[in-house]
Chain length 253, copies 2
DNA sequence: GAGTGGTCTAGACCACCGT
DNA sequence: CGGTGGTCTAGACCACTCT
């Protein structure tokens, strides 16, 4: 039985721009990705070989290879030596990148609002200090917020940050996401280690999230690092499980 | 203030083997990783430049670059153009790769045992069929298991697989992990899309997991694909939240 | 044997950072 | 300015699969 052959419309790579600040591998990957997501290249179908694409686009094989590898790492493509490269079957899920809850909601077209519940500078206890790679007793900013989506409470967010962020204004924290504020100060989140679990909600959370006391909440503890590898933020969050969940896609190397 | 300089013991890369079936980039990466995890290269410290390592090891820069990039993707290193490459601060967490619960437990030195609760061949309903990319009505194997760790119940695992796996023996399902059985049949899991949430447990789950009725459970729905991109398994699992949680580390690209 | 992806090489130019 | 990582090239050899 013959595998589906790949014949792509010529326009697919029509607007590649060698002078663009975007790297060529990125341009090729994004065009391939949209062709896959739109079904132009069908699920289960084979794509052309690396050499064939390289020759067609007049781009070297390593560059094409990198574009394809990026999509393999995203879980859209699968490769087999001696066979070729195929599109993964089944609908492709848009995976959660490293984003904040605020950005997740905004991107879904949902208006997110925030209520600031706590905003104080404390001396770091041993646990928080160790997580943030600070000496115990150093000042840390502690904030606690409630996040609503379209008027419905979704999560209670509890965060600790190094003392130098103590000047984050309460007003600004109600108007934007934390990562957004940090980015505007030149601090980009690069790495996040997180642990996801569940427990019964506290009485406090029950009233904030408008749940029955003792009802389940989804919890996430997240430690984030910036582009220099420095610990920036420790978050302990509780989510209303009917209104939020975590999606990821894993790819074996 | 001077940044910590990197002077590595000469033995670090002593046993690199060009004739090994393991690629050079993999050998270099694993040695760098253990040097970081063991503290030989301290947290926050800078490593040598790509060119310096390449010259020292007599390996080309692209190969060294790939080794380093693998560790960046794992969240162990951070790179800045014009500056160099540094180790991320804070203790490095061993992140969850694409593994099954059974393997997770085994690797932690915990003895995992399984009780088979259900084992039947059904006609796929529309939902299951769509997820597995099968026509509705096709036969599918449905299994339900309870997983114990050191004699304590940890999770209830509910799975659907394409009908061709209907010959998986009940006995073998009690003695090994599902992925392990599939691998021994030549089916390797390559991609997993998963959604993690929480809810109150059912009465059935309460007795199986030895919990109070209505207590919170951590849930995961996972759809896995093999190396050819074909959907292999749909899992719906419920975990005792005091005995299991999910850890991941995300890296921005 | 022909074609595929997996690895590796030896260069090149660039953008960016520190001094 | 020299050094760093980011991108790109044009080859090469290999292991593997299908015919």
């Amino acid at each position: 039985m013959a595998l589906e052959e790949a014949h792509w419309p010529e326009e697919l790579f029509a607007d590649l721009d060698r002078t663009s600040p975007l790297p060529m591998y990125s341009q090729v990957a994004s065009r391939l990705e949209s062709a896959i997501r739109s079904g132009v290249i069908p699920a289960g179908g084979r794509i052309e070989s690396e050499m064939a694409i390289a020759e067609r686009l007049q781009i070297s094989r390593p560059t094409i290879r990198r574009a394809i590898q990026d999509l393999v790492d995203k879980g859209l493509l699968v490769r087999q030596r001696g066979i070729g490269t195929q599109v993964v079957q089944g609908q492709v899920e848009r995976s959660v990148e490293l984003t904040s809850l605020f950005e997740d909601l905004s991107q879904a077209g949902i208006s997110a609002t925030t209520t600031l519940l706590d905003h104080e500078v404390l001396e770091a206890d041993e646990d928080v200090a160790a997580r943030l790679s600070l000496p115990a007793g150093d000042p840390v900013l502690h904030i606690r917020r409630r996040r609503m989506a379209d008027g419905v409470p979704v999560a209670v967010l509890d965060n600790h940050l190094p003392g130098e962020f103590a000047d984050l204004l309460p007003a600004s924290l109600e108007g934007a996401g934390l990562y957004q504020l940090l980015r505007s100060r030149g601090v980009g989140i690069r790495i996040a280690q997180q642990r996801i679990g569940a427990r019964a909600c506290t009485p406090d959370e029950a009233s904030l999230l408008e749940m029955e006391p003792g009802a389940p909440v989804l919890t996430m503890e997240r430690l984030t690092y910036d582009h220099t590898g420095r610990a920036i933020e420790l978050g302990r969050h509780a989510y209303h499980p009917d209104r939020y969940s975590f999606s990821t896609t894993l790819v074996a190397r």
